[in-house]
């Protein structure tokens, strides 16, 4: 479980997050939703350590990530897998080398064992015969799948997905959603998904956090969301035409 406790984040005088507290649970798809500029991406960056919180703490199974030194943070980071909005695959490496990269850096596997693990991860995301292609030769959906394969290569405890459906057609979006959901349950990991896609939220949202103007405005499950009575949340859903879904 990841706990965010009273997190504040400012850039100069601009307050981006104010007193945000939330829990993200193991084996569940945890969503952070909110409009552009609401602070949800900053919250995710604070959680993975790409941004330092101004105040507050982030606990990974009661280990205070925010106040650990570099080496201790590194140990927690090895338990984190992340799927980036733009996939962040290494351009100069092939698909196989991309997925192999974290294994090569942090495990003592032999080259043959590493190849087995890479092939397992690629098969798990339903990709085959792409080992020797470079990211530039892949479609958007395939890049996302390779990103997921790389993220799960080291059996992470926590999977962060930043806008996993951005730039994908609706059909491919559903495939990626389904894949993330399956992986979450199969490996019993804590998955945190930052998205605008309300269809994903309604399909998978076990735990949903709505961020509004840097504050946690609402928290609940996909079953609670329609009956929440929260005006800003309803406006947000309406804006995404969710009432007709």
């Amino acid at each position: 479980m990841i706990e965010v406790k009273n997190v504040y984040k400012s850039f100069g005088d601009k307050k981006v997050l104010e007193d945000v507290s939330a829990g993200f649970y193991r084996g569940k798809s945890n969503f952070i939703i909110g409009s552009s500029g609401s602070g949800k991406s900053v919250l995710m960056k604070c959680m993975v350590g790409l941004e330092q919180v101004t105040d507050g703490s982030i606990l990974y199974e009661n280990r205070d990530f925010t106040h650990l030194d570099y080496n201790a943070k590194k140990e927690i980071r090895k338990e984190i897998g992340m799927l980036f909005q733009g996939t962040a695959l290494f351009d100069s490496l092939t698909v196989e080398q991309n997925v192999e990269f974290p294994i090569k850096m942090f495990s003592k596997m032999t080259p043959a064992e590493r190849l087995d693990r890479v092939n397992f991860c690629l098969q798990r995301v339903n990709l085959s015969k792409v080992n020797h292609l470079y990211p530039s030769a892949l479609s958007g959906g395939m890049k996302k799948r390779v990103g997921i394969a790389r993220a799960i290569a080291l059996n992470p405890q926590y999977l962060f997905c930043d806008e996993p459906n951005s730039g994908l057609d609706p059909l491919t979006s559903r495939v990626i959603d389904e894949l993330i959901k399956e992986i979450t349950i199969e490996f019993n990991i804590t998955t945190i998904i930052n998205t605008h896609d309300m269809k994903s939220v309604f399909d998978m949202g076990d735990n949903i956090i709505f961020i509004w103007q840097g504050k946690k405005w609402w928290e609940g499950t996909r079953k609670d969301i329609r009956a929440s009575g929260n005006k800003e949340l309803h406006d947000f859903m309406k804006a995404y035409d969710i009432e007709n879904m």
């Binding site: 350590g49 790409l50 962040a88 351009d91 974290p102 962060f160």
Partner: protein, 245 residues
């Protein structure tokens, strides 16, 4: 104030490079790749520049030494000494600042704006150590080698031009070149090469590493890398000449 801010950040960046690599064999592999890219990839341009600079220096020196009282062998002395002391290390490194510097800044800058560096950090890898240190060390090893080649080719260009233009015979040129040769001149040239190599690789990597934005900013970082490297090469050239000669 801005100068001190950026200088301080550069110093912190350099300090951050020095940590134990995750896997030494991966580091070694990367360093050999960079040596090939920086060294082998630059031999063509170094050859062209050195030969022509040596040739032009011979012709222009001969043009200035029209007096019959001066032995023609002095042309060999001037060309070889100027090539070793200044032309080979400085001119070659200024050109390499354009070739290697822009390549390093744009490569690392693109990795920054496409979140590839964030991906490394989240995996728990010291991105500066992984990406930049192999480039700096590779540069400091292969650029002095390129300068030695440049010296050889520069003097050869001078000999060829002298013979082809009927200025002086090869034996006369060599007699002049040998008459004042000191081993220290080559040492000084190599000292310059190591210093310039550090400047080119570290300044360019620094510019790329702190790129923010998109394609436009990557281009700007690349331009800054070349300009700052060139200015620092000329500045340190003067400092080294004052200190060592």
């Amino acid at each position: 104030m801005s100068f001190f801010y950026h200088f301080g950040r550069y110093i912190l960046f350099i300090r951050g490079l020095f940590s134990k690599p995750e896997k030494f064999w991966v580091f070694r592999e990367r360093m050999f790749q960079e040596m090939q890219s920086i060294g082998v990839g630059s031999i063509g341009i170094v050859t062209i520049i050195s030969v022509f600079v040596g040739a032009v220096t011979t012709v222009q020196t001969a043009y200035q030494l029209v007096s019959g009282l001066v032995a023609k062998s002095i042309i060999g002395t001037i060309v070889s000494d100027s090539t070793m002391l200044e032309l080979a290390p400085t001119i070659t490194c200024l050109v390499l600042a354009g070739k290697i510097g822009s390549s390093i800044a744009s490569e690392i800058g693109t990795m920054r704006v496409t979140e590839q560096i964030d991906a490394l950090e989240i995996m728990g890898i010291n991105s500066a150590n992984y990406l930049v240190l192999p480039k700096i060390l590779a540069g400091m090893i292969v650029i002095p080698m390129l300068i030695i080649i440049a010296i050889f080719l520069g003097i050869s260009g001078g000999i060829i031009a002298g013979k082809m233009a009927g200025i002086l015979p090869v034996e006369e040129f060599m007699k002049g070149a040998r008459s004042t040769f000191k081993g220290f001149t080559v040492f000084f040239s190599c000292t310059k090469a190591v210093t310039f190599a550090f400047i080119i690789t570290s300044v360019s990597a620094f510019q790329g590493f702190y790129t923010h934005g998109g394609a436009l900013e990557v281009g700007q970082s690349s331009t800054r890398a070349v300009v700052y490297s060139a200015v620092l090469i000329l500045f340190s050239d003067y400092i080294l000449a004052q200190l060592l000669l």
